[in-house]
């Protein structure tokens, strides 16, 4: 049986290839994600090691709290006098402080380098005089010596078209600074540190510009020869003042690596979801293809049974075929996966996330996973058709095979389909609206079940659906159209199966489009409602803590064309034990710009110890106006603030994510008193004076901004809205590209099904050609058949996608997605593209059909 199965497989090599292709793509994506993740993990591990290569011990302040959103431990700067003090500790060969913080380098064209809001950070720091403790090395020029001299990383020099000897501007503490580039630095073998742009000053200048005068972020130590890192650390520990800690270089490296791994795992989960989607679609294709081939070989299998093969042997032969397909798919998919990893790397850099160079890493885990998944998916998908094959009775050998559908058990199918659908919807709602652990997983299972349920039900409504979709064809395309439509209706189960694969991709695209559209609409609605300003000056630093000189907001307020201007600063802190990223605005002017609907108190009352609280949070924590709120700051420790404002509109409050619901914010006096310098305004909001024409106000604002915030963009409200929705568009584009893979696989499936059904209909096609159907007409019938199938899948996908979109938007209401917006244009485009995709899927099968030798087709047995 094994040999027979393999022989029959080889006899139809092309079919083998196209069937395997679907799973190959799914495996390739999985393998690619794993390879990419392992590669990046390797790169970041090496990078982390490079940073602390020569460091044997590290002294720093103890962590005060763990920041929100994976920010990591928050700790203040450490006193610089510790450097000379600790140098005398036995075992210390050398010691040097490291001062790092936000700085923004401006390129030759006046545009700032880097995208810290959405990508790698932009850093300023000191050039360490102790070589071993300096992670950078000069590749050109010399180290900075004068206060206005800097060394920048090679990548930034390239991006900004800067060279040694050039003068440019740096944004750091205080007004924009003119600096002279005296050297370029590399980091290990890379041109920079994982995409982060770095400007290196002399130590005192760095302390003043990016940390605090006389302080350091960390102090590094080199051990005497023969002294181990552990020994050095225990020596240092005896001399440390309270509030500080020491760790070995190795421990520091591990910490850094762990942080990268955490970020990486989120990232790899994102891509693995798409791999799963691709595999599910691939499984559909396998199931469909095997179902068809089993049906086509009913007589063959009947003959085998008549000659004495047992049911188990027939089942086994189909599974052997599936195994062969699976092995090929897994191996080829693995190889393709490596190419996919390279492609994903390139894709990411197109969308703004560029990675350092590094060779791809292929682990044993990836190889094993690819094989298991490829073979597993294929075998599982083939079980049902294999069992059907085993059920073929011996008498089938003598019967004429008919090409048609069996409408058996449609009531049963209805019940099964509805049950699965109900289960899926239940899981979906539980995950979205119930407050359960691993909600993500439950939602995922729910989504899968809903798709499964709809595809089962799809078979029940396949006939009327095909009839409806194909209705205009006979009139428009004559007998070609009639034949196409009738063909989709002759085997509704098979039509539904082909369409189902496409349904998944279309459904997910529709769902994501609706969600993104709703998110964007919600943001826009919020800004419309709550933002009373006219212009926004955007530093591009996001909520990283960086931005522009606060003096800008002050100067703007002094302009006659400006009624009110306020900066917006960001920082993280603990409020009532929970970490938050909060914004701080100027109490004197912010009230004219942010319509937060004060219930009690006012923005103006936000003094040095004031905090603004959303009314529902105030109720939850039993807070009235004037009540104490216990907080912890990184730089000033535990403090007590007082409620200066209870506000009613939590989407209008100053926040890092416009549109989201914000519970607290501060005034700048409170911020300045508790966050160590330097202070930056990430954005400055401006309201023009009444009666002043917008153009005049804009010109005045721009002039001042160019002086105090070189490289920052000045936006009107429309541009500000667009800026807020830009990250959504970027992620959307990335997701579309990834889902396109699922669509491609589904199209392969449709093409495959068409090819197989053409094979089945060879004689019929021969008769049609004999009585006078031209090749063009034949290609036409197949093409329109494909279009009907594609549109059928699209219709089902849209129904499911709209449902998912609605469900998720409802679920995210508490997160700020308050508007349900359906992007009709996108969905119509999707339908048109699906139709075109149907045409494309039909190209190869229809050409092969048209090339059929008429005579051989007619006399085919």
């Amino acid at each position: 049986m094994f040999k027979i199965a393999l022989q029959s497989l080889l006899a139809r090599k092309l079919r083998l290839v196209t069937t395997a292709l679907a799973v190959i793509l799914g495996v390739a994506f999985t393998a690619g994600t794993l390879v990419l993740t392992d590669t990046m993990s390797n790169i970041f591990d090496n990078l982390s090691a490079s940073v602390y290569q020569g460091t044997d011990a590290l002294v720093r302040a103890k962590a005060v709290f763990n920041g929100p959103n994976q920010m990591g431990e928050q700790r203040p700067n450490i006193d610089g006098s510790l450097v000379p003090a600790l140098s005398h500790v036995p075992g210390v060969a050398a010691a040097a402080g490291s001062a790092f913080g936000y700085a923004r380098l401006i390129g030759k064209d006046g545009k700032p380098i880097g995208n810290p809001a959405n990508g790698a950070p932009t850093l300023g720091g000191n050039w360490s005089t102790v070589q071993a403790l300096n992670p950078f090395h000069l590749v050109a020029g010399h180290a900075p010596q004068a206060p206005d001299e800097v060394v920048i990383d090679k990548q930034s020099a390239r991006l900004g078209h800067l060279a040694v000897g050039d003068t440019t501007t740096v944004i750091a503490n205080g007004p924009p600074l003119r600096v002279r580039i005296v050297g370029l630095a590399g980091f290990g073998t890379a041109d920079n540190l994982a995409g982060a742009s770095v400007v290196l000053f002399t130590t005192p200048v760095a302390q003043r510009l990016v940390a605090e005068p006389g302080k350091f972020s960390t102090i590094g130590f080199v051990a005497d020869r023969g002294v181990s890192q552990q020994q050095l650390v225990s020596n240092l520990k005896r001399a440390l003042p309270p509030g500080t800690e020491a760790l070995t270089g190795a421990a520091a490296i591990k910490e850094q690596q762990d942080q990268f791994q955490k970020a990486l795992s989120i990232f790899s989960k994102f891509f693995l979801i798409f791999a799963i989607v691709a595999l599910v679609v691939g499984a559909y294709i396998i199931l469909n293809t095997f179902a068809i081939t089993v049906a086509q070989r009913t007589r063959e299998n009947g003959l085998l049974r008549a000659l004495g093969a047992s049911r188990r042997q027939v089942l086994g032969s189909v599974l052997v075929e599936a195994l062969a397909v699976g092995v090929i798919a897994a191996v080829v998919g693995l190889a393709a996966g490596v190419a996919v990893a390279a492609g994903l790397k390139a894709l990411l850099s197109v969308f703004g996330l560029s990675l350092p160079a590094g060779s791809l890493v292929l682990n044993a885990r990836t190889v094993v996973a690819s094989l298991v998944i490829g073979i597993g998916v294929t075998l599982i998908a083939a079980i049902s058709p294999a069992r059907k094959a085993a059920k073929v009775p011996p008498v089938a050998a003598m019967q004429e095979a008919t090409v048609g559908s069996s409408g058996y058990g449609s009531k049963q199918r209805l019940i099964v389909g509805l049950s699965i659908l109900a289960l899926g919807v239940a899981a979906l709602f539980t995950g979205l609206f119930g407050h359960v652990g691993s909600a993500f997983l439950i939602v995922g299972v729910g989504v899968l079940l809903v798709f499964l349920g709809v595809s089962v039900l799809g078979r029940t409504i396949a006939l009327p659906l095909s009839r409806a979709i194909g209705a205009p064809l006979p009139r428009v395309k004559g007998v070609t159209g009639t034949l196409a439509r009738e063909n989709t209706m002759r085997n509704p189960k098979r039509t539904a199966a082909s369409a189902s694969a496409l349904m998944i991709g279309v459904g997910l695209i529709a769902f994501i489009s609706i969600f993104a559209s709703s998110a964007k609409a919600s943001i826009n609605a919020t800004i419309d409602r709550s933002f009373a300003g006219d212009f926004v000056i955007n530093s591009g630093a996001g909520s990283t803590g960086g931005g522009v000189d606060p003096a800008l907001a002050q100067r703007l307020n002094a302009l006659p064309q400006v009624a009110a201007a306020t900066g917006e600063r960001f920082g993280s802190m603990l409020i009532l034990g929970q970490p938050y990223m909060i914004a701080a605005v100027d109490p004197r002017t912010a009230g004219q710009i942010f319509n937060v609907s004060p219930v009690q108190g006012s923005i103006g009352a936000l003094g040095a110890d004031g905090i603004a609280v959303y009314k529902d949070d105030a109720t939850k924590h039993h807070l009235k106006l004037g009540d104490p709120v216990s907080v912890v700051f990184r730089d000033t420790g535990p403090k007590t603030l007082r409620v200066a404002l209870i506000y009613g509109d939590n989407q209008a409050a100053p926040t890092a994510n416009p549109g989201s619901k914000t519970s607290y914010f501060l005034g700048t006096p409170g911020y300045d008193a508790n966050f160590a310098a330097p202070h930056f305004d990430s954005q400055v909001f401006v309201k023009k004076a009444p009666g002043v024409p917008a153009a005049a106000a804009l010109a005045a604002v721009k002039k001042l901004s160019a002086q105090y915030a070189v490289g920052a963009t000045v936006q009107d409200q429309a541009a500000y809205k667009a800026e807020q929705t830009k990250p959504i568009n970027q992620i959307l584009a990335l997701i579309y590209t990834l889902l396109a893979l699922a669509i491609v696989i589904a199209l392969l499936g449709i093409g495959n099904t068409l090819a197989l059904s053409i094979f089945e209909r060879t004689r019929e096609l021969g008769v049609m050609r004999a009585v006078g159907m031209t090749r063009r007409q034949l290609r036409g019938t197949i093409r329109w058949e494909s279009v009907i199938i594609a549109l059928q899948g699209t219709f089902l996908g849209l129904v499911v996608g709209v449902f998912f979109g609605w469900a998720l938007v409802r679920a995210q209401k508490s997160q700020g997605i308050t508007v349900f917006s359906v992007p009709y244009l996108t969905l119509i485009l999707l339908i048109v593209l699906a139709g075109l995709a149907g045409v494309v899927a039909a190209i190869l099968p229809s050409r092969r059909a048209a090339k059929l030798n008429v005579l051989r087709a007619i006399v085919t047995e």
Partner: protein, 248 residues
């Protein structure tokens, strides 16, 4: 032979037709220089033992297959001068076909099957003629049925109706009664005969059945790819007798 060809119009003919399959050791000469004409308005049968080349001859002169050498004509048109598109259109507009089985497109009704060549051409056809054809073949009450809902005999009648509906110059039938019982078979042969007698059609039929062949005006006998004999005004007994001599 001579008087048949000169006295009447020739609907289709071949000149020294040769058809070779395979190469070298496995070469098969299905047709080995066949020159034959099929008179218009006549019912001609082509007979011979299996492997005689009779089906091959039919396929080649009908434009379904190409000759290795020699020429085939429908009317005055040399089939070797036509590309696939033109050949297809010629078959559609000027030739009718009845195969032994699987004549019909299963997804459309009997009525649509009958007018299929016309539908493909985008023409309406002669409605009166089509009604007459339907009446003669007696399938008027089954027009909206799908082929799977018809008996074997009914399916063949629909096939005959299709062959007649577009008023072709010539109809080729390849063992049209091969799959039918004797009663249904007789029906079909009667229709074909009436088509020639009452409607002036030209029919060329391949058959191995002496009874079927007796309906023809003329029988051409093939053996080993060559014409070996002819018979005019055949009867079943004479045909049977002639066929039995093929072994010698």
């Amino acid at each position: 032979m001579a008087d048949v060809m000169t006295a009447q119009k020739v609907a289709a003919r071949t000149e020294d037709a040769v058809k070779v399959y395979g190469k070298g050791q496995t070469e098969v000469r299905a047709l080995d220089g066949v020159t034959v004409g099929f008179a218009a308005g006549r019912y001609t049968a082509v007979m011979g033992p299996s492997g005689s080349g009779k089906s091959t001859l039919l396929h080649c002169v009908a434009g379904l297959d190409s000759l290795t050498s020699g020429r085939a004509f429908i009317g005055d048109v040399d089939l070797s001068t036509l590309n696939d598109q033109k050949l297809t259109i010629l078959r559609r507009d000027r030739v009718g076909f009845v195969f032994q089985a699987f004549n019909l497109v299963p997804t459309i009704s009997a009525a649509k099957n009958i007018t299929l060549p016309l539908l493909l051409a985008g023409r309406k056809g002669d409605q009166a003629w089509i009604s007459q054809v339907i009446e003669i073949t007696g399938i008027g009450d089954r027009l909206e049925h799908r082929p799977s809902e018809l008996s074997g005999g009914q399916q063949q009648r629909v096939a005959v109706a299709r062959a007649l509906a577009s008023r072709p110059e010539i109809i080729f039938a390849d063992e049209p009664t091969g799959n039918l019982d004797s009663r249904a078979g007789t029906e079909i042969l009667t229709f074909l005969r009436r088509a020639v007698d009452e409607m002036g059609q030209t029919i060329v039929m391949v058959t191995h059945d002496p009874m079927a062949a007796s309906y023809a005006d003329r029988i051409v006998f093939l053996a080993d790819g060559r014409i070996v004999d002819e018979m005019l005004q055949p009867t079943a007994e004479r045909v049977l007798e002639r066929m039995s001599r093929f072994g010698e």
